[in-house]
């Protein structure tokens, strides 16, 4: 979907997009990401590694002439790296005009989670929890809802802390 087409869709469907989350599975847990960030879902592509990158940045891919970085969500959440398989997907998100691909174990579905069904995250205990903005419940299942912006920006603070 092109940028403009996406924006138009956004305008038209802002209401219908509200409270909708795309859910995906990483290491057995189901996560949700606000649908408005999602540009498309693509199958696994050939990834070109870039040196000097943190482990969770697997490299760059060619998305129809546009070069975008890809991030392995397992590694991002401090889970062990697992070789990619047939069901491995790349969710292309656009966060503040920055395109990035998220490598996930598999994509599940689009669910509707009204704001009332979202509970705040528990106190931060594990590192992987930094990106969770809430816990949503849909169809009796628990989904960890991701804060997309933090996925990109958290690294900076992390670097500041370690340096």
């Amino acid at each position: 979907m092109s940028e403009t087409a996406r924006n138009e869709t956004l305008l038209d469907e802002e209401d219908s997009q509200r409270d909708k989350y795309l859910t995906f599975v990483v290491d057995g847990d189901t996560y949700g990401i606000e649908i408005r960030y999602v540009t498309e879902i693509i199958g696994l592509q050939k990834i070109t590694p870039v040196p000097d990158m943190p482990a969770f940045v697997r490299g760059i891919i060619n998305l129809r002439g546009k070069i975008i970085p890809v991030m392995d969500m397992r590694v991002r959440f401090n889970k062990p790296f697992r070789e990619y398989m047939e069901r491995t997907c790349i969710i292309v998100v656009d966060i503040r005009n920055l395109s990035i691909g998220l490598i996930v174990d598999s994509v599940a579905e689009v669910v509707n989670i009204p704001a009332g069904a979202v509970a705040p995250p528990p106190e931060l205990t594990r590192r992987g929890n930094r990106f969770i903005m809430g816990i949503g419940q849909a169809a009796g299942e628990v989904k960890l809802l991701l804060d997309c912006e933090k996925l990109l920006t958290e690294e900076e603070t992390e670097q500041l802390l370690t340096s």
Partner: protein
């Protein structure tokens, strides 16, 4: 006045006016250089000011319009009497002041700010000059038959000129016995429509159109252009024109009735023109009198001007008309997008033509069509690159202005010579080198060249020369900034470098060139020294940074008493390079072809390893470091045995390095793309300058040879993983 970004009319106005003002500046500098404003130049300047005035008034930028109007008036006057000897350098100064003012205003508009500058000082100056110029001819004309020398006194006497009666010259014209079969006299009254703007200008146009057919004329109001009341007078009483002509009444009537915005026209024959006395008729005469004035032996008037005219005309004239209408301005962003699209087109083409589904089919017609398609895509690619290339001429021309202003300020005689200004570089390169060039030229005038006395004492011509030279050299463009001044002082640089703690090696070890190179170090020079210290180095580190940003380098060489040369080396284009693709394991790398010297296979015995584990190889008696790409970037897979792979010798600034890769895949032009913003934000990727897409859609990383050298110097223990791997391998 609100910002109107995005409004096409506003954009067009900005683009057009900016271009006109640049043309104007160039024109003025050319004229100044020639020592005279030629007739063509004056016409051209008049045309430019007229256009600027019109469009600025339309856009409601009244300050720009008012200034343009004043300058237009000035040149309209000059245009009418081309043979006049005027204070050209004063006029140039004034024009340039106007140019600068307009530039500042345009810049404000560009940034979305209101054009709120006050032009009144400049306008006042223009009007003062205009008044002075207008006063002069009366005396000069009146003296037409008598003493030409009066002209100079009248010129300086200012106001007195306006009181001089113009009858002398007018009478002279009418009395000309060969004029006609009896001149007739007419009186006309022109009434303009209420909605006519600037009636005085219309009246002026009427006079202008008609005057070739008139032997003599005068009008009320007399001063059409800079009498503020003229417009009101014309509105109230109409514009009255008294003419003496040998043409018929009908012809005059017809000519007058063709004037736009005319509401009413009265034309009557009169017996005798009434008494004429006043500056205006005399002034108007000047234009017609001019040929006669020259022939009269009007002294310097006649002599100097035509000569200058013929000398300057060809160069200027042949270029100016061609520039209009044949160029358009395009947003660079659009060109970038176009370039990206072409890159994608090339990839898409490869995906179609090399599609595995048709790979084994015999398709004769299809292959023919493919070749045709490939030819066209190649041409598109070349054209797009060509469009992005712009000659250095505009940038070079700007230096004229700097040299001019600086030389005046410092009282030095400086000649600027431009060589190879037609050399083309990528647009993005131009943007990055303009400031450094200006800096170098300023430095050359200020510090490089000696004063006239010093030069004379040293037996050099008093006029110092600064040469700007551009030339193509392989995939690079060289720009040389050369002066014939005093040269760099080795001792003073050393002294200063020591004082600032920049010297880390024993003095004796340093070659002259290395010492000169010290001036590019940050902290070599500080601001307070611009005035007291005569050496160079004012912010040269910034110059170097700017040039490095576009992948260029700068070096300096100098000989005492003979001058200094700065050599800037920049890549032709940043967008497309010739690259050699190499494979390492699964990864692909592209090495700029310009930096590759050779490639070869090595035998295991050729490799020398020092105690730190650094590998080297001897090639023709010289020792080069060996850099294994798989180690450097931690690539998995790939060949480990030096005999299985290939060594590529890359070179930068005279230093060589051997890169070890699995195999070479071939050479091709690649579109350089920067790494995604997120990647760049995370970490500075060393040794990689960007990436590119190959025909099959795979990504290749472009190696930054300069960066690789730096990594080599930083030591290799930064890659812990490599070390363990090496230990295992060893």
């Amino acid at each position: 006045m609100s910002a109107r970004q995005g409004d096409p009319i506003f954009e067009a106005y900005l683009a057009e006016t900016t271009q006109l003002i640049e043309e104007l500046e160039e024109l003025i500098l050319v004229c100044e250089h020639e020592g005279a404003f030629t007739e063509e130049a004056i016409h051209e300047i008049f045309r430019i000011m007229h256009t600027v005035k019109g469009s600025s008034a339309m856009m409601q930028y009244h300050n720009i319009a008012a200034l343009a109007h004043a300058l237009e008036d000035l040149f309209s006057l000059l245009r009418e009497r081309p043979s006049r000897q005027a204070d050209w350098s004063g006029i140039s100064d004034l024009m340039l002041e106007g140019v600068d003012f307009t530039k500042v205003e345009l810049h404000k508009l560009q940034n979305g700010e209101p054009a709120d500058g006050d032009a009144s000082t400049v306008i006042a100056k223009v009007n003062r000059l205009l008044g002075k110029l207008k006063d002069e001819p009366d005396a000069a004309n009146g003296a037409g038959g008598a003493a030409a020398s009066d002209a100079s006194t009248a010129g300086t006497s200012g106001e007195s000129g306006s009181a001089t009666c113009g009858s002398g010259s007018a009478g002279g014209m009418i009395a000309d016995p060969g004029a006609s079969d009896g001149p007739r006299h007419f009186a006309a009254r022109l009434i303009f429509t209420e909605d006519c703007q600037m009636a005085n200008i219309r009246a002026y146009q009427a006079v202008f159109q008609l005057k070739d057919r008139l032997l003599d004329y005068r009008h009320i109001p007399e001063n059409l252009l800079d009498d503020p009341d003229a417009e009101a007078v014309i509105r109230d009483q109409g514009f009255r024109l008294f003419m003496t002509t040998d043409r018929s009444r009908d012809e005059i009537y017809e000519a007058l009735s063709g004037i736009s915005y005319l509401k009413d026209l009265e034309l009557e024959s009169i017996a005798e023109p009434d008494g004429r006395c006043g500056p205006e008729p005399a002034e108007e005469h000047a234009s017609r009198d001019s040929p006669a004035g020259g022939a009269d032996g009007g002294g310097t008037d006649g002599g100097g001007q035509p000569a200058g005219k013929t000398a300057a005309a060809p160069g200027r004239e042949s270029r100016t008309p061609a520039q209009h209408g044949t160029t358009i301005q395009v947003n660079v962003g659009k060109l970038d997008e176009l370039m990206d699209l072409v890159g994608e087109l090339v990839i898409a083409e490869a995906m179609v033509t090399q599609n595995p589904e048709i790979a084994r089919l015999q398709l004769e017609q299809f292959q023919k069509a493919v070749r045709h398609l490939q030819k066209i895509t190649k041409e598109i690619q070349d054209k797009v690159m060509e469009i992005r290339m712009v000659p250095l001429a505009t940038t070079f021309q700007r230096m004229h202005r700097i040299v001019r202003d600086m030389s005046r300020k410092l009282g030095k005689n400086v000649a600027l010579r431009l060589i190879g200004e037609e050399t083309e570089v990528d647009k993005s390169v131009i943007e990055h080198i303009t400031d450094p060039l200006m800096h170098l030229v300023r430095n050359a005038v200020d510090h490089g060249l000696e004063s006239a006395e010093e030069r004379a004492a040293a037996g050099k011509p008093e006029t110092g020369t600064i040469t700007l030279e551009a030339l193509n050299s392989g995939g690079e463009v060289l720009i040389l900034v050369r002066d014939d001044g005093r040269g760099l002082s080795r001792e003073r640089i050393l002294e200063k470098a020591k004082a600032r703690g920049l010297l880390h090696r024993p003095e004796a070890d340093l070659a002259d060139r290395e010492i000169f190179q010290l001036i590019f170090l940050p902290g070599f020079s500080t601001k307070e020294e611009i005035t007291e210290y005569s050496g160079r180095g004012v912010g040269l580190d910034v110059v170097q940074q700017n040039i490095a940003e576009v992948g260029g380098t700068i070096a300096v060489d100098s000989a005492p008493g003979e001058g200094t040369v700065f050599t800037i080396k920049i890549p032709l284009t940043l967008a497309i390079i010739d690259g050699m693709n190499a494979r390492v394991g699964e990864a692909l790398y592209t090495i700029p072809t310009t930096s590759i010297r050779e490639s070869f296979r090595a035998r295991a015995g050729d490799i020398i390893t020092d105690p730190d584990g650094n590998e080297m190889i001897m090639v023709r008696g010289e020792c080069y470091p060996v850099l294994r790409i798989h180690r450097l970037f931690g690539v998995e897979g790939g060949r480990r045995n030096i005999e299985d792979g290939v060594l590529i010798m890359a070179e930068q600034d005279g230093r060589g390095i051997c890169l070890f890769a699995d195999e070479l895949l071939g050479q091709q032009q690649v579109v350089v793309k920067s790494l995604p913003r997120y990647i760049r934000k995370l970490n500075r990727v060393r040794g990689i300058s960007g990436c590119t897409l190959l025909g099959d859609g795979s990504i290749s990383l472009i190696l930054d040879i300069q960066g690789l050298f730096n990594m080599k110097h930083e030591g290799e223990d930064c890659h812990v993983g490599d070390r363990t791997e090496r230990n295992l391998a060893g």
